[in-house]
């Protein structure tokens, strides 16, 4: 199972590719809308990439609750832990 740091790194890499930024410039506190300039379509595409990568489902409600990079990492880490504890 991946630890929190590994999940964070993978999330940053997926985001970096999506928004065409250097991965080093993507911080946990970065705002998706303000700092990463993500629009709703790139959010949907990112969610798809994350779902494929981590083998989880991200419902629309979860998607609308995430505001920062850390929110995404927390959500995914939680989902992975739930999945493995079942």
């Amino acid at each position: 199972m991946e630890n929190y740091t590994q999940v964070e790194q993978t999330v940053k890499e997926i985001l970096a590719k999506q928004v065409k930024m250097d991965v080093a410039n993507i911080k946990p506190e970065s705002s998706l809308a303000e700092d990463l300039r993500m629009d709703s379509f790139s959010a949907v595409e990112t969610a798809f990439d994350l779902e494929e990568k981590f083998g989880i489902q991200i419902p629309n409600e979860a998607l609308s609750n995430v505001k920062t990079v850390k929110d995404i990492v927390d959500y995914i880490f939680g989902q992975i832990q739930n999945k493995t504890s079942v």
Partner: protein, 415 residues
């Protein structure tokens, strides 16, 4: 006045199985080089036809940003590549243009098939929640004109025309009209198609329209020949920069030829078969000639639709005789598809580019693989070897499944 504004071709970009780039393509066409070979794109064990005109040695990232190339279907790769070539060829600096007066009008019969088929497999085999969220914008046929508009900042008409095998000709023709009528001054017009996918190839195979000459693939596409047995599915694209004449002269643009006439009609007959009398095909040629304000005596060359199917080539020959009378026997008629197969929605645009090149280079490209005369096809098909000729006015036919007919007339620029 409806026809006051004149339209010229100031740039070309072509990707086909026998040449990537206008010069490579044109030299191959002049020499009669076939781009057809054994199908390699996917496993074809259960197909009766195993020949295709594939574009090889083509890297889309040479012609567009890599993140764009990754996110679009192969038919958009062809459209964007041809646009890059044509804009450069035309010496066009779009930053100097009123971009609301520039259009993007492209033909595609089938759209983003490769991605469509992959994603359909996902939906049926896995689950619809695993579908890629980019399915809709990636599959839709209008992706090609829109990506061109996005990449080149085009703000005028953005339209994709889908009329099967005539899509590219209709796109060029409708763009011509919009410039003539003053709706725009410039247009990136053409066609793009990437139909070499398992489902689509299999579907054409089941329609029994594809050649089964698997033992000698280069000879499979043989329009007008007695032993033709169907067409060869091909892929590629072409873009023509169409421009209002005064606009082109003002910026010293290179001019290949003038687009002088266009007509479209329908056979209203059958969803795949041509009208056996060719009445609709004959009429569309006569209407285009009338639109150009010339007479049938002025046509020096016909770039035929000529697919290499029994029915098309027979009916088209009959239609040419009906439109031109006895003179039909004196006009060279040749088939680009003999060399690059049938590229469906791209075909009419590639053939329009051939007409512009033929006028500029004063050369009639051949119909290759012509060996035995069919008594129903007895015109001068420029068999196997091209020839030099003074070409003032040439005509290009395109006939789509469902009897979607289009005809374009090109003339040497007479200032």
């Amino acid at each position: 006045m409806l026809n006051e504004r004149r339209v010229v071709i100031t740039g070309l970009g072509i990707v086909a199985s026998n040449g990537v780039g206008t010069e490579a393509f044109w030299q191959a066409n002049k020499k009669g080089v076939s781009g057809t070979d054994t199908l390699t794109r996917f496993d074809h064990r259960d197909l009766e036809s195993k020949v295709a005109s594939e574009v090889k040695n083509f890297d889309p990232t040479e012609f567009m940003p890599s993140d764009v190339a990754e996110r679009v279907d192969r038919f958009v790769h062809f459209g964007l590549t041809c646009t890059q070539m044509a804009v450069a060829d035309s010496k066009l600096d779009l930053s100097n243009e009123d971009r609301y007066r520039v259009g993007s009008i492209i033909g595609s019969g089938l759209g983003g098939l490769l991605f469509h088929e992959e994603q359909m497999m996902q939906a049926y085999q896995r689950d619809t929640l695993r579908l890629n969220p980019a399915c809709v914008p990636r599959i839709t046929p209008n992706a090609v004109a829109s990506h061109i508009a996005i990449q080149y900042g085009v703000l005028g008409p953005n339209i994709v025309i889908s009329t099967a095998c005539a899509s590219g000709a209709h796109a060029v023709g409708e763009a011509f009209r919009k410039i003539q009528h003053g709706e725009m001054d410039l247009c990136i017009s053409g066609g793009a198609e990437a139909p070499l996918t398992v489902f689509t190839f299999g579907a054409y195979n089941r329609l029994r329209v594809l050649s089964k000459r698997n033992g000698s693939p280069q000879e499979a596409s043989r329009p007008f020949d007695l032993n033709r047995d169907g067409f060869v599915l091909g892929e590629g694209g072409a873009v023509l920069i169409l421009e209002e004449l005064e606009h082109a002269l003002k910026r010293n643009a290179p001019i290949y030829a003038e687009l002088t006439g266009y007509a479209s009609n329908s056979g209203g007959h059958h969803i795949v078969m041509p009208d056996p009398d060719g009445a609709d095909a004959s009429r569309v040629m006569s209407d285009a000639i009338k639109d150009a304000g010339i007479s049938s005596d002025d046509i020096d060359y016909i770039n035929a639709h000529a697919t290499s199917t029994g029915a098309n080539d027979r009916c088209e020959t009959k239609a040419i005789k009906a439109a031109f009378g006895k003179r039909a026997y004196d006009i060279p008629v040749s088939s680009t598809k003999s060399m690059i197969g049938h590229t469906i929605g791209a075909a009419g645009a590639i053939e329009a580019a051939v007409c512009a090149l033929a006028i500029k280079d004063r050369f009639v490209p051949p119909t290759i693989n012509y060996k035995d005369k069919d008594p129903d096809c007895d015109l001068d098909y420029v068999p196997n070897v091209g020839r030099e000729a003074k070409l003032d006015t040439v005509l290009s036919n395109s006939f789509g499944f469902g009897n979607c007919n289009a005809c374009l007339i090109f003339s040497k620029l007479n200032e």
